[in-house]
């Protein structure tokens, strides 16, 4: 029973890490209707910049804010160079543009900072909690801190969206871009803000994942973990990304631990996509996604 509890807890905490990445997708899709294929590359780019600044003996918080500034400049550049010329083009065109952006950012980050693997230690131990370990459950301190950071991040984002004028404008654009524009909300400005916030989320996700995996190209592959979370939670809901992350995390661990041994193992990657596919059949818009109703 204790082991079962540990599997569930480990899964939930892993799910939080997936949600950290998924939120970046949700933010951009919510505000601009673009499925940002480059989110993984943004995570890599942000983490590479951050860790290389740290290696140049720049203090932690200074490196953090410099990287954040870089991500904001990047957001402005993306809006100016990639998005603005594609205004009013079909979503598939914007999606294709983000695929190009993903390759560009991966190359740019490694072009500037090199392709070496960087270790990142932010001082949070990855050892199990001793008092839980004595009870037979192994839960990493790092996982709990990551969950706490994700909780803060979501709270800040929710407050921003609901309690600030800019957040309300973002919601308005998300609801009806044309109506929002008609009342004077600048679509371009909103895009810059959204991509900047997404850059901030990418930086946080990059630091957390980079601490675990090292900062290297593979960081961009964490999007593979975020996709089923998005399908399950709905592409436009931050709460959905969190809850779906928890469901995906717990279910993949349960499946791999309890079903895996009977089918040769290796279910950890397969099961989330299987679950997402089943979910698509019954709830194509995800748990919290909005059903698109089109007048014919």
């Amino acid at each position: 029973m204790l082991f079962f509890l540990e599997v569930i807890l480990s899964g939930l905490l892993a799910g939080v890490m997936y949600s950290l990445v998924a939120i970046g997708f949700v933010l951009i899709l919510k505000a601009s209707g673009v499925f940002n294929f480059a989110q993984g590359a943004m995570v890599l780019f942000a983490a590479l910049t951050f860790v290389c600044l740290l290696e140049k003996a720049i203090p932690f918080w200074a490196a953090f804010f410099i990287t954040l500034a870089v991500m904001i400049v990047l957001a402005v550049a993306i809006e100016r160079i990639v998005l603005r010329p594609l205004v009013a083009k079909p979503p598939i065109i914007l999606f294709m543009a983000t695929i190009g952006l993903a390759f560009f950012l991966e190359g740019l980050g490694q072009g500037i900072w090199g392709a070496d693997v960087h270790g990142l230690n932010i001082g949070i131990p990855d050892d199990p909690f001793e008092w839980l370990m004595n009870k037979g459950i192994l839960i990493s301190q790092f996982d709990l801190v990551a969950a706490f950071i994700a909780a803060i991040l979501v709270t800040v984002l929710v407050l921003f969206f609901h309690k600030t004028a800019t957040g309300t404008a973002l919601m308005a654009v998300s609801d009806d871009p044309e109506a929002a524009q008609s009342v004077g909300i600048s679509l371009r400005w909103i895009w810059v803000i959204t991509w900047s916030i997404s850059g901030f989320v990418a930086l946080v996700a990059g630091i957390m994942w980079g601490t675990r995996l090292g900062v290297q190209y593979s960081l961009s592959l964490i999007v593979l973990k975020a996709l089923p979370v998005l399908i399950l939670g709905g592409f436009e809901s931050i709460a959905g990304a969190i809850i779906a992350g928890l469901i995906i995390g717990a279910s993949e661990k349960l499946a791999d631990v309890y079903i895996g041994p009977y089918v040769g193992g290796g279910l950890e990657n397969f099961f989330p996509y299987f679950l997402a596919m089943v979910f698509l059949c019954f709830r194509p818009y995800g748990l919290f996604g909005r059903e698109a109703i089109e007048r014919v």
Binding site: V7, Y217, G265, E268
Partner: protein, 441 residues
Amino acid sequence: MGRKLIFGLFAMVLVASMVVVSGQALAAEKKKEPPKQYIPLFAYRTGPFQAGGSGQAGGNEDWYTLVNIKGGLNGVMIEFEECETGYNTARGVECYERVKSKNPVHIQPWSTAVAYALIERATKDKIPLSTIGYGRADASDGTVFKYVFPLVTNYWSLSTAKIRYIAQVEGGLEKLKGLKIANLHLDHPYGRETRFILEIMAKKFGFEVKHFPVPWPGIDQKSIFLNIRRFKPDWIINRNWGVSCTVPIREAARIGFPRDRMLAVWWCGSEEDVMPAGPAAKGYLATSFHGVGKDFPVIQEILEKVHHTGKGNISYGRVGSALYNKGIIQGILTTEAILTAQKKFGNRPITGEEMQYGLENLNITKERIKELGAEGLMPPVKTSCRNHEGFDLMLVQQWDGNKWVQVSGWIEPFKDLVRAEIEKSAGKYAKEKGITPRKCE
């Protein structure tokens, strides 16, 4: 307008290319260049395995650069060219098709899966495949695999030597009985290559082996480690590649599994694998077939003549790393095989078919290794028509938190067992493919 612009640009590029090509042709006429030996390098400097790919390629290219600086191989200069595979099998095959018409002296794919995919093509085209410490283990039988050379050692030799090392630590072969060994492997032809030999060893010595496949890219192995925790192994074999080598080290720390009971394949024994894991990697063990660090005359010479003159092919800090040193050894084996072939066929660029002779008659003695400045860096290698492996011992190194430290002497595999399995498997392959094994003297 747009179409005109595109056509205009295209025309400009075309004209510029023609000018460059004709310029090159004129320059070539003016200056008689020394003969060149073309060596393609299948590298992966991009993609999830780039850290490993760039290390190997860097070492390999630095060696060839040094050889050229010193006048080439009997006056024949090495012309090396990278083909980027991204550790992707399809791209590896594409690279092969792209370079095969340029008279490549051999192909070293740096990927077991690509090696598998190329065996038949390369054999048909008479281009040797060199796979140093990786690739298809039964290809060590030269009577069946005439053009395939899993040089230095293969995965089956490695796996049995690992078991011998575990026995040494546990206090003897009889202590293996009742042990539990978790074989954590990438779910990929490379990862699956040793399952079978470990099972044979388990039956022979009475230990239990359980396989834990890691789906690509292996960035999250939490549930695998939950299963490993339930299995309660005494040892974990880490047989991954790239980031999937690092993740188990951290996961082991999280479940309190001792790192000095994790024994990794040499591809999980590089600085790039342990440094991202931080303090969790201290004590971690990995196998090797070469020396570590840069305190070898050959590497000092590379630093002096290649890197200090701005001709290096990798960042200075990575010179002497485990993967870099593998690249150097691959380079030495290649050039020594070319020299062997030149002795028979003359001091000129040799063909793939001639290189087969060179690879099959390699005899890199201790004296020759000393002459090359690689004493302690690489073992002696002697191949033959029957034996395309050339050496089969392994070392164990341990990460002390800052660097690799060698913690064992040369460890022997279970030679008879491995050779019998190699011949059995190669015989089966020959039967399936309708190959009549060669007669070797």
